[in-house]
Symmetry: C2
Subunit: 230 residues, 2 copies
Amino acid sequence: MRALALLLLTSCASNAWSVERATSVATDRPLRAAFLIVDGVYNTELTAPYDLFQHTVFHTKPGIEVFTVAPTKAPVTTFEGLVLTPHHDFASAPDIDILVVPSAEHSMDSDLENEALIEWVREVGGRARFVMSLCDGAFVLAKAGLVDGRWSTTFPSDQDRYAEMFPALDVKRNVSFVHDGKLLTSEGGAKSFDVAMYLIEHLYGVEVARGVGRGLIIEWPPSAMPHLVR
Amino acid sequence: MRALALLLLTSCASNAWSVERATSVATDRPLRAAFLIVDGVYNTELTAPYDLFQHTVFHTKPGIEVFTVAPTKAPVTTFEGLVLTPHHDFASAPDIDILVVPSAEHSMDSDLENEALIEWVREVGGRARFVMSLCDGAFVLAKAGLVDGRWSTTFPSDQDRYAEMFPALDVKRNVSFVHDGKLLTSEGGAKSFDVAMYLIEHLYGVEVARGVGRGLIIEWPPSAMPHLVR
């Protein structure tokens, strides 16, 4: 169950890709994936997993239902300047199976001092079946205690700061993502697709992942993708 | 000037990457990149180039100013369900240097019958210095006449339909993107990063592109990236 699998990046195709299937995925209803959005959220770290999860509904039934959750219903301005109207605020969000925390401009500083934000992440993430961060979203999860005792990763140039701020945590480097129990943490950026594709295969199998990948011109299974599964 | 360069995908690193620099890029003001958003626009094909262009401002001055333009100021719901408030409508959009047309759910059918949409694309794209499509955005550009006489590409499984609908056009296959004069067309999906990175290098040079790539964990210059420059 806790087998260690480490795929090293190689320049040639490898047949080593293999993903353990999740047990007992609900089939009588969609899995609900909530994407936390706050001012300064980074577009790609929101949209890469959002798109892949949403597209599952075209390849499996019932697939994943995606929505955004923000502290309030006020519009959220992303780091790059898009203006998003949240689907839910903290008070109205439905039960959540997968909590996704993309990085935001202040994931490493003032967001961590926002008690309502951290408390919501702690409570909802604690009950969720999976919790995923992209890039510096790992800081938010760590602050909420959701990384305690688990392996994790974050944006490469922020890994030192992460290790300093959370010295008890075991930060992993030079991997696209880490999967440890219910926690998935990704380096972020354009690598944000990798962890989401992996979770889709974990939940629904390689054929569903292959179909979702085709829609976004992502080769799946990958020939190489450095990651860690604990 | 019109040298043909075709990089084939290889499994090993190549030193063949080379991008011709654009002449006379404005340095006294940002280049203005408008992203056309309509209901059903695909997130990734919007956000991949949007993010890369926006991040130029951290690596060169004055870089690229990005904004969304929609037919009206009403909120736009993306294909995957995000709700965006446009920055401008057709009437209020400022002068545009780079027109970006991401694909949308109806890029191949009803959007092509929307005369106001096609006319706006024709006029604005005609005046713009560069016009870029992602995925099926190429259908919109083709309908507007902006692809006439040029090489182009679109989403792989829609290339046959594109060739049938626009039989005079020379559609290119098995390439991430095509650059022909002021026109850049991309296969779309996760490949949407490629064409935007390329244009950044074309405009600002490889060091700026490398810096922008680092922020999204995109290796630049790439070891291989199949594309065509006419």
